[in-house]
């Protein structure tokens, strides 16, 4: 009678500690590795999101002549209703959607084409070109925008001066042009970056596949289109999602162009609208609501794009 419990206990003592003691033994290490990440994740990611959502439910209120201490009043979804009814918000959103629909495919198409060229059997000086294409990305975003602003500004631009001497009236800042002038800057900055991601994905494809295709009589074009492109689809999806999110957060270019172009208003893109609401109008509730809506739009578009791009069409 006394033996059975002993065996049971022994069996248990052989099994359970294996399950139980391991976490205990490594708890220190697990904590050490995860706590810094979790702490930063909570403080710089989760907390600001929660704070923004909470803030978007409040509005600043004064009374009388407005010189008393302003107070924060709970207004529920009023800031969201205001954003959805604000023509400036929709105009700003429409602008970046138009920007994205044109700029993202152009940039990624260009990056893919250049990557295929660099990956082709005929390519020489690949590492040199890789660095050259990547170089613009090393220029900080604002600096890049300022550099281009000097190239666009009617009074300073060498292009405009050249156009004048040829009798051509170049205007990079007109109401219908300035969006594409900005798209040009973004493409210039990010094409090389996306190229690198696609190229590294291309170079991971086993070379013997190309050899087999060549033996079967496939042209280089055929290899590129039917073997290479399908296999870099994950890289295209990644760069695509990044670019979509980047487009929705577009800020540097319009903020810099705002200084030199009449066509770029202070609420030209949603991020500028949110900044103006927060730091000009002191309306942090509205700024938060706009930011939350923008995040939702970015999330939805990214999901839709991901679904379409990863759909198995085999």
């Amino acid at each position: 009678m006394t033996a059975a419990p002993l065996i049971d206990r022994r069996a248990g003592s052989e099994l359970r500690p294996a399950l139980r003691r391991r976490p205990t033994r490594f708890r220190g290490a697990i904590l050490m590795f995860t706590v810094p990440f979790m702490a930063l994740f909570v403080f710089v990611y989760v907390a600001p999101i929660i704070y923004s959502v909470v803030q978007s439910l409040f509005a600043t209120q004064s009374s009388g002549l407005g010189f008393g201490e302003p107070e924060q009043v709970f207004v529920g979804a009023a800031n969201y209703a205001k954003a959805l009814g604000d023509t400036e918000f929709w105009a700003a959103l429409g602008r970046i959607l138009l920007f994205g629909i044109v700029q993202v495919p152009v940039m990624l198409g260009g990056a893919l084409l250049l990557a295929l060229l660099l990956d082709s059997a005929a390519a020489r000086w690949v590492s040199v070109y890789r660095v050259l294409y990547f170089l613009p990305y090393a220029v900080p975003g604002v600096i890049a925008a300022v550099l281009w602003a000097y190239l666009y500004s009617p009074a300073l631009s060498p292009f405009v001066a050249w156009g004048d001497s040829m009798g051509i009236d170049l205007d990079f800042l007109g109401p219908n042009v300035v969006l594409w002038s900005m798209a040009n800057i973004t493409t210039w900055v990010f094409m090389g970056y996306n190229l690198l991601i696609i190229l590294s994905s291309l170079q991971a494809i086993p070379r013997d596949q190309f050899e087999a295709a060549r033996l079967d009589g496939a042209s280089e074009w055929r290899i590129a289109w039917s073997i290479k492109v399908p296999q870099v689809r994950p890289a295209l999806v990644l760069t695509g999602v990044n670019s979509i999110i980047g487009t929705l957060q577009l800020f540097n270019e319009p903020q810099v162009m705002h200084v030199i172009a009449d066509a770029v208003s202070s609420s030209y893109v949603p991020t500028m609208l949110a900044m103006g609401a927060a730091f000009v109008k002191n309306d942090f509730g509205y700024a938060s609501a706009v930011s939350v809506l923008l995040a939702i739009v970015a999330g939805l578009i990214s999901i839709v794009y991901y679904r379409i791009a990863m759909r198995s069409d085999a």
């Binding site: 290490a29 904590l31 050490m32 009388g64 300073l156 009449d262 202070s266 730091f279 002191n282």
Partner: protein
């Protein structure tokens, strides 16, 4: 083994804490009697004046951080106050003071400034005391004048325009002689000058009536001014430009514009940026509306005490010295220094303000500015949501430039947006009749 693990844990935890602490490093500390004041501003060479102060006041050290000009600076100043690391003092143009007060960004220093009120022009003191409490120390004013190129005026055979009718006639004459050149411009990023044009004609954008604001951005005088300038734009006699665009000074130096209507603080900017044209510039009084002698003020700043300042007394002491002492104004008011036209009453007699200026052909500019300053309608007030109105005005001017709006329409829409901004904030406001 165990010790090493603990050590690693401490290092990792320490790293996290340092990173988090880095996000909230607080404003100027005060160790044993010595006080540090942060001060943000954009007056050229203000750092030199601050250095003189710091030399003489080891116990009140000022840390000056230059910020971009005007509208570009306010988001930074506001976010610093919001974050609680703004230091103590910041430069604000007068039009922004009521908005900053309404947004709870400034500190009431009525008691600390009781002794210095008389040092400054009365009307500047009311500009920094919205609602009867004082929040800032006046720095400079912006009496408007006509800066012009004497050589080009001669070349095109133009007399200095005394009235706006003369100005319009001269503008048409210049434009007819050379379509590439205009007498002057309308700057779409300089809302303060557009406000000044209305101000001069007797507009009253904001006034207090009992417990409520009266808003008159589309009043008769404002519309009259708007129609005048729209007329010049429509005929092509005047061009629009962006005066804070880096290309502006190259246009000015090239002689594309024969003149510039602007406040006194432009002196230092012109001197520094279009050096090639030294000696060719002169300053004449602002053109007037018929027989009226009224002029206007454009811009001018105050040094405001920010919410969260721990040493308001010392901050006021420094700001008063900065804006009224001859020691400081020798730099801030010099045309090759800060180029300010001081708000301190006695300062207008200082030598530095009364120099024969070679850049302007040996002219003593103060003779023009002093008269302009005396003819400014000083009852002008700015409303508590003007920071929003100012941005809308700037955006609207850009629409006028691209042809999608007109100045009179803009005044109407500003009136509406300002009233609705005030209503949204719970501030009592009615349209002026």
């Amino acid at each position: 083994m165990k010790q090493r693990k603990i050590l690693a844990g401490i290092v990792a935890a320490g790293a996290v804490v340092t990173m988090l602490a880095g996000c909230s490093s607080a404003s100027g500390g005060s160790d044993s009697g010595s006080v540090t004041l942060g001060y943000m501003g954009w007056v050229p060479k203000a750092d030199e004046a601050v250095a003189i102060w710091n030399e003489a006041h080891p116990d009140i050290q000022v840390e000056y951080s230059p910020v971009a000009n005007g509208q570009e600076a306010y988001p930074k100043i506001r976010s610093s106050v919001q974050a609680g690391n703004a230091g103590c003092l910041a430069q604000l143009t007068y039009d922004q003071v009521p908005s900053f007060v309404a947004d709870g960004m400034l500190l009431d220093v009525t008691d600390e400034t009781a002794d210095v009120a008389d040092t400054f022009l009365d009307w500047t003191w009311s500009q920094v005391s919205p609602g009867g409490k004082t929040y800032a120390i006046p720095q400079d004013t912006g009496p408007v004048a006509l800066y012009y190129r004497a050589d080009l005026f001669e070349q095109y055979g133009i007399d200095v325009p005394a009235t706006w009718d003369d100005f319009a006639a001269a503008a048409e004459q210049v434009h007819a002689a050379d379509p590439e050149v205009t007498l002057s411009y309308l700057a779409t990023d300089d809302s303060s000058t557009v406000a000044a044009y209305a101000w001069q004609r007797g507009a009253s954008w904001f006034s207090i009536d009992g417990d409520s604001w009266k808003v008159g951005i589309d009043d008769a005088a404002s519309l009259e001014s708007a129609e005048y300038w729209q007329g010049l734009l429509d005929s092509g006699a005047i061009a629009t430009t962006k005066r804070w665009d880096p290309g502006f000074y190259s246009e000015l130096a090239s002689g594309k514009y024969l003149s510039m209507i602007g406040a006194a603080w432009n002196t230092a900017l012109i001197t520094a940026n279009v050096g090639d044209t030294a000696g060719a510039w002169r300053v004449a009084p602002m053109p007037t509306d018929g027989d009226s002698t009224d002029t206007a003020n454009s811009g001018g700043s105050a040094v405001a005490v920010l919410k969260g300042c721990e040493h308001p007394e010392q901050a006021v002491e420094f700001a008063t010295w900065l804006n009224s002492s001859e020691e400081s104004l020798d730099i801030l008011a010099a045309s090759d220094g800060g180029g300010l036209y001081p708000a301190a009453t006695e300062a207008l007699d200082y030598d530095v303000v009364n120099q024969a200026d070679d850049f302007f052909g040996g002219q003593n500019l103060n003779e023009v500015f002093k008269e302009s300053a005396q003819n400014v309608n000083t009852s002008w007030a700015w409303g508590p949501t003007y920071s929003s109105t100012d941005t809308a005005l700037t955006d609207g001017l850009s629409k006028v430039a691209t042809g999608s709006s007109t100045l009179p329409d803009l005044m109407g829409s500003l009136q509406d947006s300002t009233l609705s901004d005030m209503e949204d904030r719970g501030i009592s406001a009615i349209p002026a009749d």
